[in-house]
Point group: D2
Chain length 245, copies 4
């Protein structure tokens, strides 16, 4: 075992700080946005202008969905421990899996396996159905007919010339699934987001983490609102009243 421990994310000496191999003050601060730095850290290069617009469009599309369990958990945790903002943010992120942000990562990995494999989406869908597993990227509990984020992602991808094989494949998924199951489900916004991120170069295995950056922004906004205009205490008292009568 070597004595060296290596990271290429960042490091410091008493008089310098390096992030992604660049000098932080002179080469990153004032030059890159947070979105660009996040991309640089995951891919090793800066996004093009079009890629950056797509990255931001996807991130803002996943930042918040109102008073979901994620926001409610964060607000409840803040109610119980208002001194620890980091605890309340962590609590919100912990619910960001199956129903909410996970589908972006699941869709990214599902489509990327097809694209980097034999390209046969029909076979991949059949394998999921045979194994009694959900086909990712389709359907939404609220947006049952139509997810308004999806066409916007396709539109932006076309505008910026970054509509790649993952978004293209995803477009054919509703038809394949309808063929197999008789159910026509719309492409959901999280699924389109996952495909778009892979098309602009985010590694499929990093999609799940990447979207958490956006969700942190949404949770932080909920906590600022909770501090001004609390929902947590009100909900608690109401639940208490309704459970004790």
């Amino acid at each position: 075992m070597s004595d060296r421990i290596h990271t290429s994310i960042g490091g410091s000496t008493p008089d310098s700080i390096t992030v992604a191999g660049r000098d932080l003050p002179s080469e990153v601060m004032g030059k890159l946005s947070l979105t660009e730095l996040a991309y640089l850290l995951l891919t090793g290069r800066e996004p093009s202008v079009g890629e950056r617009r797509m990255l931001d469009a996807v991130l803002v599309s996943l930042a918040d969905h109102g008073l979901t369990p994620i926001a409610l958990a964060a607000r409840m945790t803040y109610t119980g421990a208002p001194e620890s903002v980091q605890g309340a943010v962590a609590s919100g992120l912990l619910g960001s899996r199956i129903e909410f942000l996970g589908p972006a990562g699941d869709t990214a990995e599902f489509l990327a396996a097809v694209v980097s494999g034999d390209g046969d989406l029909v076979a991949a869908v059949d394998a999921r159905i045979a194994a009694d597993q959900r086909v990712p990227g389709l359907g939404h509990p609220v947006h049952r007919e139509f997810d308004p984020r999806t066409p916007r992602i396709y539109e932006l991808a076309a505008e910026e010339g970054v509509l790649g094989p993952h978004l293209a494949l995803l477009e054919t998924l509703p038809g394949i699934v309808a063929d197999r199951t008789g159910k026509r489900l719309p492409i959901n916004g999280a699924g389109a987001a996952g495909a778009a991120l892979v098309d602009v170069g985010v590694p499929p295995s990093s999609v799940r983490g990447f979207v958490l950056i956006a969700r942190t922004a949404g949770i932080v906004a909920h906590l600022a609102e909770e501090a001004r205009d609390p929902i947590g205490m009100k909900l608690w008292q109401e639940v208490e009243r309704r459970s004790s009568t």
Copy 2:
């Protein structure tokens, strides 16, 4: 108690999604960066071009500092539960308080209380010293003489015309403290970041949360690297060996 529950962060109906009171697909996606949306959610308005450059400069300055306890906790949690990226990110954020990201929020609140109060920084410093409390914004365990982020933040603030009362006040802090204690400590990057954020309009009480958005980006990058090139398992085995011999 009213039956209504109000949030102005976001909401959805079956065919529309609203964030910060705007239609997500047509008014946010493709128009705002993640940084701009985070700012809009906390302040109710979009940043100017100069404010946005400052916001991004501050965020990228706090995204990562290498293999700190934050990154190590996230990587260790990933080692124990690799299926849950959100758990590993949460674990990293949970350590983001006293030594690392907290100082940005502490400095923001300390300076904002002076600016919105009687403006007497000397009295505020004396009160801290009398109460045996740390004066925030000064000193750093690694950058003992000089924090390379600090002059860059002042330079950018001047360039963009957003050097406001909080950064101005902070500049006088090392002298006041040296006067009282005999110790000359440099302004640290987190302190300058906190002052800069308040100068561009982030509410002081939201600074602590705002910087967590940046730190999430850094943690996500560490976890992507950990998946490719693990440190957690290696450290664990080494600790194990060194604790049992």
Copy 3:
């Protein structure tokens, strides 16, 4: 810096496991309860029969308080990420501070400082009031007149002969505070719990952590119930409906 890393909590070799310096299979399993092991790990000795009864009485008194923000945060996180029980438990624990479990630790540390100092509780109360800080251990949002756990803790401490200086001091606290502020507040159950734990030998700085063991048991029970009979989804849908109409 030494190459050795030391812990006295536990360790293993390929064919043995040690906890608290004892051989796990032969000296701990079948011999100690979880409560006894937790005490042994924190104090270095086994509790007496009376101490153990007190420890368990305190732990069961803090295991649950119904649908508090702690339980609601855990259930909401489970709603969003049901595959990760550890995430939902963590989310519940993260809210266990100011209003709920923190007071046990705060009271323990407050009283222990008096007992190990000059014994002057009146002066300690005055110092808190002068610094505009809460005096811990008194008052409760629900049990305004009387906390039913408090007399039971005193009764058990008397029965087992473990009523020590911390519980004794706490008994005089309501009178001292009423004297100063005109408000008569009852000793709350968390405060009595904190004092009782210190009286049976738990280090004051460990009280805050010790009570989390009990709370984990309560949260785990809420999550088992949530899996059978979900509240999270129902509350979410209701909040959604009430926020969008």
Copy 4:
């Protein structure tokens, strides 16, 4: 949708507190240990004397394994945010999945499906192998030949007359797997723990949560030690040094 929200875990009125349907002060405090209450909350009944001894033996066997990633993540988080014990405990629990505590739950659910199904363990093993999934309950990264907890769990189960179908089935698992794969792996302690918990009545789906109670005790002990004798700061400095040279 009914206006009532139901929980059978606990509740309070201004002058009473109920846990598991019992009056907390008179029927739980001084009567039940934490282990007994945890069992009562999950099963609706008190354990027998033999069941309780088994429950405690299993819990103490999983409370700690030394400086694992779980303990290291908790200690690192404490290093970064020492004011928040609940955050450091949460951080430790978040790593308690695949390698460490998850196997108890996985084994419990795997064996329970066989016992409550057709009883054919061989077919269940073959299905796992065919699906390229791990057979739970066998093998350990440190205790490669023999896990010292396993024979002790069987011995105690026999002594107390609680050796039921899950432990019995598990005993045959190494032979079945060796038959199929040619590899002889020992029953690990977590697997035996999971089987034993189901044999004494813990619902299989609650095993994963139940063992977190024990782990919280271990993490709390690590944090108390970390406060006295820090490893986090030392490891951080060392990693820093080794990554920057």
